[in-house]
């Protein structure tokens, strides 16, 4: 660790420089600082916005979904103990189809499909804005 003593002996200069006074602010400086502190609002700790937590989770969520899809649809020997593609087609696909069927019936009405389209688009835009727009600190 380097400290002041590593410098060559400079007691003479140090004593001389210390005699030279420091600059000082005008009178009443401390009072003005304290008045400014009293006038300024209390600073509360900044809370981390929820969308930032959500944003942090998105990559892991995507990774988990991809892994699940790969594992669930693969017939690799390594994953033989897993249900595999057969399970997916026989058991999961009917459920997925029924969900899509619900959507299909909902979209059969023009009014409903327009309303859904508008609300989904608005919701998607809002989420994209929340997730990817950097907000300034408050």
């Amino acid at each position: 660790m380097i400290n002041k003593d590593d410098l060559t002996d400079d007691d003479f200069l140090r004593d001389l420089i210390r005699r030279s006074p420091l600059d000082s602010p005008s009178g009443g400086f401390t009072e003005r600082v304290m008045a400014q502190i009293a006038a300024s609002p209390e600073v509360s700790p900044v809370k981390k916005p929820f969308y930032l937590y959500l944003k942090a989770v998105v990559p892991y969520l995507l990774l988990a979904m991809i892994l699940f899809t790969v594992i669930a649809t693969s017939d690799l020997p390594l994953f033989r103990w897993l249900p595999g593609r057969q399970y997916l087609t026989e058991n999961l696909l009917p459920y997925i189809q029924s969900i899509f069927g619900m959507f299909k019936s909902a979209f059969s009405s023009k009014a409903v499909s327009w309303a859904l389209l508008v609300s989904f688009s608005a919701g998607a835009l809002y989420l994209v804005d929340k997730l990817f727009t950097r907000r300034g600190a408050v």
């Binding site: 400290n3 200069l13 420089i17 030279s20 420091l22 602010p25 600082v33 502190i37």
Partner: protein
């Protein structure tokens, strides 16, 4: 006025005694003001920045982790505030420039100046320091007057420790050269 250790006042402020902060301001205001003034070169601007700096420090006092001295933390905030106000570049490593060499050794200068009366000594060192650059004056203030270590100055200014050491050595040489020049002129005037 005799001040207590900074941590004593910090603990009091964090326990709700706002008035204790006035003691911290009073204790450090001259050094903070001097540091900022050496960067901004305007008393008016320096007062404004120093005032804002103390308010900012008060508001973030709970985040001070006490890993360094309070003064180091405070001076770093003051230094950065002044740098961002002036949009000046932070200190950088500067090559060694030539200073006037003369026939006097450091011992000659120490003895010659040491024989003068204190007022005359003060006048000479003030004149010698006035001939230094603002950056050099800032380093002198931080090292000799604020009694910061090389590491502290490195933390405050962002310069490497070895760079701080080299620059301080160079400043010291410059001051000796200035003082020797003044002594020589004084002797020539007498003869």
């Amino acid at each position: 006025m005799k001040y207590l250790d900074d941590n004593h006042y910090i603990d009091r402020v964090l326990n709700g005694d706002t008035v204790a902060y006035a003691m911290l301001v009073a204790k450090h205001k001259n050094l903070v003001f001097s540091i900022i003034l050496k960067i901004l070169n305007s008393r008016e601007d320096a007062e404004e920045v120093a005032q804002d700096c103390f308010v900012k420090v008060y508001q973030s006092l709970s985040t001070f982790e006490r890993k360094s001295k309070f003064s180091t933390w405070l001076y770093r905030i003051a230094y950065n505030a002044a740098i961002s106000k002036t949009r000046k570049k932070k200190m950088e490593f500067a090559p060694m420039d030539d200073y006037v060499m003369n026939n006097y050794t450091e011992e000659d200068v120490s003895k010659g100046i040491g024989d003068l009366d204190p007022d005359e000594q003060k006048r000479l060192i003030d004149r010698a320091m006035a001939r230094l650059s603002d950056d050099d004056n800032l380093l002198i203030t931080l090292f000799y007057k604020a009694e910061n270590s090389i590491e502290d100055i490195s933390n405050i200014t962002g310069l490497s420790a070895s760079n701080v050491k080299v620059r301080l050595h160079r400043i010291r040489k410059k001051l000796h050269a200035e003082l020797a020049g003044m002594m020589e002129r004084a002797l020539n005037a007498m003869n």
